[in-house]
């Protein structure tokens, strides 16, 4: 399915119809031409308009609002419409959906369409993504398409595994050679999303050699073949990098210093996945001075950290001040670590705790409310908090809590509040009606 032009896209995905573009300078001329042509050629005796003769510019405007399938139907009406169907403007953006009927419920981009795009439109493609289901065949098909994109210059490329990291199952060399085709031919790649792929250091070097001036976004979480040196090379050379996503084991003091160098633009988002690769893994620490350098250089940058660790692996974390803004604990995290979060994360904006032990998190939450003055969103899953402490927490944070997602089971009634009272109390302090999240009791 085509991602389509912005407006076509909106319609297709049902995002509601935004206002069309303001009539640019071209519109008046177009209008004139249309009128002229209208009076000269289109005056049929019965006053009808010959739709087959609409000017290309008008048709193009119309086509941009149509989903691909409708455009394909329209293209069969006449030669003129068929020509418009193939205009480069309509083929800049494309999302290849590669799904096997045996492994996915979703439809796939038709092979004939893929063939046609490669033959006729590959030089028009600029914004390309591949959505791949859990099968190796799909990932292979994506690589085959990639390696045929020799005469195009992509601005963005996304390789998205929608179910399992299926690119990881490909032979590394096959994947790398396909990816390198894009790196070498596209001289102005600005955005690259290649999470869960076997990309490696040498291929990143090729990326840097060809696209260092233009690269702004790089997402490569869970790419096990990249080393800290490989990513450092990217940060050293790509001074326009504004967003970076990677795993903790690639994060180093040198990397942060490179991103904070004078030549580097301000970083906007740094996303770190902290995953234990093997049980009992020991995690390195990052110096406070390196984080300080980052904050000095990019005072507004978001540091998004996702922790998927066992409780006993948190030792090295939250010992020194950490400029994290968005903090997500995907597994159980101890009361003690959450206590340290309140002490070490003054820039915290959003906090999600999926699970915790059995002891209530009362003091920890109050401390976070006290110390984290920017906290505006919090989500609690399998934890416990007494109703009183929770009300106190909300009172301290007040209206700045724009998102407050608390499972009902989290709140433990105490002598001050019962469950029925709490939504009132919390709503009062928030300044809007609030309820805990519920699950069906069925």
């Amino acid at each position: 399915m085509i991602r389509g032009q912005k407006r076509g896209d909106d319609q297709e995905e049902g995002r509601g119809s935004p206002p069309g573009p303001a009539p640019g300078p071209g519109a008046a001329a177009l209008h004139k031409r249309l009128r002229r042509e209208d009076s000269e050629e289109r005056d049929h005796k019965d006053g009808t308009v010959d739709w087959g003769q609409l000017p290309q510019e008008i048709l193009l405007q119309i086509f941009q609002f149509l989903p691909l399938l409708d455009r394909a139907f329209a293209s069969q009406v006449c030669w003129g419409w068929n020509q418009v169907f193939h205009m480069p403007e309509l083929w800049r953006c494309f999302e290849f959906e590669l799904n096997q009927p045996a492994s996915s419920y979703l439809k796939a981009t038709h092979p004939d369409l893929i063939k046609q795009i490669i033959q006729r439109h590959s030089n028009h493609l600029q914004y390309v993504s591949f959505k791949v289901d859990s099968s190796t065949e799909s990932a292979e098909a994506a690589c085959d398409i990639l390696s045929q994109l020799v005469n195009c210059s992509l601005k963005t490329l996304g390789l998205i595994s929608t179910a399992r990291p299926s690119f990881m199952e490909l032979p590394k060399s096959h994947f790398i050679s396909a990816l390198t085709v894009v790196f070498v031919n596209s001289k102005s790649l600005s955005s690259l999303k290649i999470d869960d792929t076997p990309v490696d250091d040498p291929s990143l070097k090729v990326l840097v050699a060809n696209n260092s001036d233009t690269l702004k976004l790089l997402k490569m979480s869970s790419c096990p073949h990249v080393s800290p040196a490989g990513i450092l090379c990217v940060a050293d050379q790509c001074h326009g990098l504004r967003e970076l996503a990677l795993n903790y084991h690639l994060l180093s003091d040198d990397l942060l210093l490179a991103l904070s160098s004078e030549r580097h633009v301000h970083l906007e988002h740094l996303r770190i996945d902290v995953v234990s690769e093997n049980p009992g893994q020991h995690f390195h620490t990052i110096k406070k001075s390196s984080w300080d350098a980052m904050v000095r250089h990019s005072p507004k940058f978001n540091l998004v950290m996702y922790f998927f660790l066992y409780e006993d692996e948190f030792g090295p974390f939250f010992r020194d001040e950490l400029p994290v803004t968005h903090l997500y604990f995907g597994r159980s995290v101890s009361k003690e670590v959450l206590g340290r979060v309140g002490l070490t994360c003054p820039r915290l904006v959003e906090l999600v705790v999926c699970a915790n032990g059995l002891r209530p998190l009362d003091e920890e939450l109050i401390r976070i409310a006290e110390r984290c003055k920017h906290l505006s969103a919090i989500g609690l899953g399998e934890c416990e908090v007494s109703c009183s402490a929770f009300v106190e927490f909300v009172k301290m944070c007040g209206g700045r809590l724009t998102q407050l997602s608390i499972m009902e089971e989290v709140l433990v009634p105490d002598n001050k509040y019962e469950l029925d009272d709490i939504h009132w109390e919390v709503s009062k302090h928030l300044g809007r009606v609030w309820f805990p999240d519920m699950m069906p009791t069925w």
């Binding site: 998102q403 997602s405 300044g431």
Partner: protein, 589 residues
């Protein structure tokens, strides 16, 4: 004129509070109570033996009760469309009564039967006895669309008058006026079939926990109320290890089969509350479980695709995997996670599991670990779960898999930690997976982490006597959270946009320049996302701000605390459509 009535039992297998049955008796000369089932179909249907047994026991109980009134139950073999023309003629029927079925399939079937009855000159009387409220009425009050959040639903229920009061049980005098001659060979033609007749080979004495029927239902109701009165606590009970086991006060299967009237349950609870608390009005939360049922009935009544992802306007399209082998391991309790396997074993053996246990296994199958479609899980529940109703089952699965109803998806149940919190000593696991019973508490939820000596001492070596865990939970939950984020980030107007999905980025997808320069020139190289003009770190874009920012037509009204009404209602409504999802989003808050 002679009135010969037939009352058609489907759900609503009871004589108390049965308005449709009352209609059959009213002024009638004869009344026959029928239940139609197709033994041929029974074996092939996707319904497990426990559900059939429960049904047959309920029918037996009905028959027994009717005998006491000098009547009998007629269990007619066949399909309704074939059976009725025959019965109409044979019994000279003039009136047909049955309960209202709100589900799309049932509505279609009933419409066909009503039409057929008309052709035979048979009057049909339909009464709603299965739900507290009329789903269509709730939809009408919600501007002609079903409420899609439970809060919204509660707000509407708050504005409704109380449900209709329950009717008394059928009496002997009522029945005496319209007695029907019972043939000597009644049992041969119309007796309640045995499980064997339906094609199930089960030892007659196989133990079962839930006994079907109205009599059992009413006994349980009394116990249920006694216990509530005893603890005098109307809060939702905190879950304990004991909650996981089948309780003699559990009622859900009886509500499902209509052995217990939801209205009787409702009014009994209400009266008890008012007696003990001396407060005029009980809170809605008192009726939690009953209201959830109503909520899903209402959501499903006009949506024939409610039980599938494709073509279901309220269901988020999620690229689930097809993995038949993994699905089988889950369904048969061979995942290698004792907590999950114990739950699935209990479900298979007894037909009921606690709602938190349902959450655990549903999350594990779908968004948490296996990334398998909720539709597959729904079908397994349909087969084995005694209280699985089409609407409630599908609705709950969509809810638990975060496919609808605006759920936060960050919260994933851990197949190790969640059970341990509830039942630290693992008694529940020891009961349903006896192989593991000698494991020490410390390892009972994760036997694969036990040292070999411990496994040997417990006479259960992981990988030999009990499966290894089929998946690395830490890794899979990380991946799946990422997948959910991808799905939800595309639904930029989806009101339930999660905390995680709103983590900012400099761009979503590149905005391609349009044909002319009007947009390209205004965007910074196609990078700046129009949805987030300023990536300011301090403003975590909540669902509210992203919704308001990108959709100018959305109005939002802040309710000041002083204006907070007890009945939470904000009149603000906006409609959003997102990537195949058309959800009428009403303010949760």
């Amino acid at each position: 004129m002679v009135v010969n009535s037939v009352h058609w039992f489907r759900k609503g297998l009871r004589l108390h509070d049965n308005a449709a049955l009352q209609e059959a008796l009213y002024g009638a000369d004869t009344v026959r109570c029928v239940y139609i089932l197709d033994p041929w179909f029974a074996g092939s249907a996707n319904i497990g033996v426990n559900r059939w047994r429960f049904l047959l026991e309920s029918l037996e109980d009905l028959d027994t009760s009717l005998r006491k009134l000098n009547s009998r139950l007629f269990v007619v073999r066949g399909q309704p469309t074939d059976v009725f023309p025959r019965l109409f003629k044979e019994w000279n029927v003039t009136r047909l009564t049955f309960e209202y079925d709100s589900e799309p399939y049932g509505k279609e079937r009933d419409a066909a039967i009503i039409k057929m009855a008309q052709e035979y000159g048979v009057e049909t009387v339909v009464r709603n006895i299965h739900t507290l409220y009329d789903p269509d009425r709730i939809i009408e009050m919600n501007n002609h669309s079903p409420p899609l959040t439970f809060k919204r639903f509660q707000a509407i229920v708050n504005r409704l008058e109380l449900p209709r009061k329950p009717l008394p049980t059928i009496t002997q005098e009522q029945m005496a006026r319209c007695r029907t001659q019972i043939a000597d060979n009644h049992d041969d033609h119309y007796g309640v079939p045995s499980l064997e007749e339906l094609g199930f080979r089960t030892p007659a004495d196989s133990p079962h926990v839930w006994k079907g029927g109205e009599t059992e239902a009413l006994e349980r109701l009394n116990k249920h109320l006694d216990r509530k009165a005893w603890v005098s606590n109307f809060e939702r009970p905190r879950i304990s290890a004991q909650s996981l086991f089948a309780s003699p006060t559990g009622l859900s299967p009886y509500l499902r089969f209509g052995c217990l009237s939801c209205r009787v349950f409702y009014y009994n609870l209400r009266e008890l509350y008012m007696k003990l608390r001396r407060r005029s009005n009980p809170p809605l939360s008192l009726f939690g479980q009953l209201l959830w049922r109503e909520f899903f009935y209402t959501a499903a009544t006009n949506n024939p695709n409610f039980d599938r992802m494709e073509g279901n306007p309220i269901c988020v399209q999620i690229p689930w995997d097809h993995k038949p082998e993994a699905l089988a391991k889950w369904a048969e309790g061979r995942t290698g996670f004792p907590w999950i396997d114990a739950i699935m074993t209990q479900l298979r053996q007894e037909g009921w599991i606690h709602h938190l246990a349902r959450h655990a296994v549903a999350c594990f199958l779908t968004r948490g670990d296996l990334w398998i479609s909720w539709e597959s899980g729904m079908k397994v529940f349909e087969e084995m779960l005694l209280d699985a109703d089409w609407s409630v089952n599908a609705g709950s699965w969509m809810w638990l898999s975060c496919s609808a109803f605006f759920q936060q998806f960050f919260h994933c149940y851990c197949p190790v930690g969640f059970g341990r919190r509830t039942d630290p000593s693992g008694d529940y696991i020891r009961r349903y997976i006896p192989k593991l019973k000698d494991f020490p508490n410390r390892y009972i939820y994760e036997p694969w982490n036990a040292p070999e000596s411990v496994q040997k001492a417990a006479n259960c070596v992981v990988g030999v006597d009990y499966p290894k865990p089929m998946i690395n939970h830490a890794e899979s939950s990380r991946l799946n959270i990422e997948r959910m984020k991808q799905v939800y980030q595309q639904l930029s107007h989806y009101r339930g946009l999660s905390l995680l999905a709103s983590v900012p980025t400099i761009q979503e997808e590149a905005e391609p320049p349009t044909s002319d320069d009007s947009q390209a020139s205004s965007s910074t190289g196609g990078l700046a996302s129009p949805h987030q003009p300023t990536p300011a770190p301090s403003s975590s874009p909540s669902s509210e701000s992203s919704g308001a920012g990108s959709a100018p037509h959305v109005q939002r009204k802040r309710v000041r605390p002083s204006e907070l009404p007890g009945k939470q209602k904000s009149k603000v409504k906006h409609t959003s459509q997102a990537n195949g999802v058309k959800q009428t989003t009403e303010d949760k808050q």
